[in-house]
């Protein structure tokens, strides 16, 4: 099953509890909420759109119409392969399968498996993986 992970940031004023369910009903696409965070100004939802590219874009458009700022995880996490020495420190720190070691001993990131735990960002000895912010 194709999936795409996104962070949606709703200003508190725009946010309604039902927005996720309404979006699911309207698009017919499953959205799994992985993390939800409420700050004084924003509601930040990180989740996974269970659909191919075209349907995923539709879901993202609906979120935007409802006042959300949508960012794909691939845009807010950056892995700089040129900086990486493939020591592998991050591999065992990753709670999901977002970081794996290839057969040729290089390190591969798949941000569509990422839960933004920041273990890799906080520990990379060469700062080869960075969080660019929402």
């Amino acid at each position: 099953m194709m999936s795409k992970r996104v962070v949606v940031l709703f200003p508190v004023k725009e946010y309604e509890e039902s927005v996720i369910n309404e979006t699911v009903l309207k698009s017919g696409v499953v959205f799994n909420t992985i993390k939800k965070e409420v700050t004084p100004t924003h509601v930040r939802i990180m989740g996974e759109i269970k659909a191919g590219e075209e349907k995923a874009q539709e879901v993202m458009r609906i979120f935007k119409r409802r006042g959300g700022i949508v960012k794909e995880l691939g845009m807010i996490m950056k892995f700089d392969e040129a900086k990486c020495v493939a020591c592998g420190m991050c591999v065992s720190l990753c709670p999901t399968n977002a970081i794996v070691m290839n057969k040729d001993f290089s390190v591969k990131f798949d941000f569509d498996e990422c839960v933004l735990c920041m273990n890799c960002v906080n520990n990379c000895p060469l700062k080869a993986v960075v969080y660019l912010g929402d």
Partner: protein, 494 residues
């Protein structure tokens, strides 16, 4: 069977057969050591990992008027360098932290920047003399401005490392990086079977003067390295190389979170296959190299063993601990180590790298001793325990507690073995619960204890970490010898 001179002749004529350590494993397994020794002339081994005992001697040339940095202070991009040398010689050690950026930038990053040809800021405070009147200088330089930039690593190609994990409920930060709680991950070092010293563990070919590949430059073995402990398969070599010839991709400064700075360094070592014994050694496989996984949550030098494993399991990415498969990863790059094996192979095949005969052998006898110092042990600090029995009446014990002004009582059985602890808080609770026997009120599970030879710092940390009033000191059988209490411990430890 073969000599180094013969192999060098073959390198000259282009007939030399070189294989990487990775390839050699299969050749030895398939054809046996006799045949492998006939067919293969050189095996290239490699490593790329974190080094902490590493650094470089730099010579700046004289200023006008002259400065005597020796005995003064020298900062390179705000990182202090060792200046207790001649007038314009310094040694920059890789783990030294920047005075400004702390662990974000250190000696390792200075070394990396030098190899990259970047400009380094120099600030020096001299110790002025008649002929060296300058007190202070500031300037900028690159590696090309230096007379010499010689990397000297007191401990390189370190053979054996243990792996680490963490049994506690909190993340800990170690030189292995972050160790996640509840055995969340396992971290190890070394490239295992392709690491140089596993392929010649008896130092038959490696010795003083052995030519090596150090970060792209040609380097030499100076002798045994620090902590060289060959009897425990834990050898090391001291090496040097001209830093001006190093390649940036093999020299990387690293910041280990909440730990410090280290240098990722790549190096290769060629092993001439002089006879079938050496071929056999080069056939060593990951599964033959045993590695102990220790619990790094315990800060003593000797840590509890969690599991005995090998590099095959560690490199598979999953290690079974108890009934769980725990993710494992390394701090040594197999990718770049293999690249180095291939690069060195290519250099030898092209006739750019010749082998050397050692001028002296490396000792296979030395052993590693722990630091000798006097430390305060738990048994020095402990006080006699006020004890009672589980079946004692609470009322009697309360009386003793009042008389002795004691709020911490150790509950022992007839043989003096630990059964539980009773604090004034437990006694207070009995007022509500109405229980009147010691065993109904005491704390009997998860009692934190201390060993009699445990450094007092470790006991102190336990007291703080677990928020307990005291620690019963027990021997190996669980017999109570005394009690460590926060007040008495604090008093003795500054």
């Amino acid at each position: 069977m073969k000599s180094i001179e013969e192999i060098n002749e073959k390198i000259k004529s282009g007939d030399v057969v070189v294989v990487t350590a990775l390839e050699m494993k299969d050749i030895v397994a398939e054809k046996g050591p006799e045949k492998a020794a006939k067919e293969v002339d050189v095996v290239t081994t490699g490593t790329f990992g974190m080094t902490t005992s590493s650094g470089a001697f730099l010579n700046f040339g004289h200023s006008d008027p002259q400065i005597k940095m020796g005995g003064g202070e020298v900062l390179l991009n705000d990182v202090p360098a060792y200046a207790g040398l001649g007038s314009v010689d310094v040694y920059i050690g890789v783990t030294q932290l920047s005075k400004v950026h702390r662990i974000e930038y250190g000696g390792a990053h200075v070394v990396e920047d030098l190899v990259n040809g970047k400009t380094i800021r120099l600030k020096a405070y001299g110790s002025p003399t008649y002929c060296h009147p300058t007190r202070e200088i500031e300037g900028e330089f690159t590696i090309n401005d230096l007379n010499q930039a010689v990397m000297v690593n007191p401990r390189m190609f370190y053979q054996r490392y243990s792996a680490g994990t963490n049994s506690s409920e909190k993340s800990i930060h170690t030189y292995l990086g972050e160790l996640l709680p509840n055995f969340g991950n396992v971290v190890y070092f070394s490239t295992g079977a392709i690491s140089p010293l596993y392929n010649d563990p008896n130092y038959e070919t490696i010795g003083v003067g052995t030519r090596v590949f150090l970060a792209g430059a040609v380097g030499y073995v100076m002798g045994e390295g620090t902590q060289h402990n060959p009897k425990a398969m834990s050898g090391s070599l001291m090496v040097k190389a001209d830093m001006k010839r190093m390649k940036p991709q093999y020299v990387k400064g690293a910041s280990i979170r909440d730990y410090g700075v280290a240098l990722f360094l790549g190096a290769g070592l060629p092993i001439p296959v002089l006879n079938s014994n050496i071929a056999k050694s080069c056939g060593i496989r990951d599964e033959e190299i045993k590695v102990n996984i220790y619990d790094y949550h315990i800060p003593t030098r000797v840590k509890p063993l969690v599991k005995k494993t090998d590099y095959k399991e560690l490199k598979s990415g999953k290690v079974v601990i108890g009934d769980r498969a725990v993710k494992s990863s390394s701090l040594s790059s197999m990718k770049i180590a293999v690249e180095i094996c291939r690069k060195l192979k290519e250099m030898i095949e092209k006739g750019e790298f010749f082998l050397t005969k050692p001028v002296e052998r490396i000792t296979t006898e030395s052993v590693m001793k722990p630091m000798k110092l006097s430390y305060v042990k738990a048994s020095d600090i402990m006080v006699p325990a006020v004890t009672c029995k589980p079946d004692d009446e609470l009322k009697d014990v309360e009386k003793v507690m009042l008389e002795k002004r004691e709020d911490y009582v150790v509950v022992v059985d007839g043989r003096g073995h630990l059964q539980g602890v009773l604090t004034s808080w437990d006694v207070a609770k009995s007022l509500v619960t109405g229980k009147n026997k010691v065993k109904d009120v005491m704390t009997a599970t998860n009692i934190r204890t201390s060993r009699k030879d445990e450094p007092i710092e470790v006991s102190m940390r336990k007291l703080e970490q677990y928020g307990v009033r005291g620690l019963p000191v027990v021997d190996d059988d669980g017999k109570v010898l005394g009690v460590i209490k926060m007040q008495s411990a604090k008093h003795k430890v500054k």
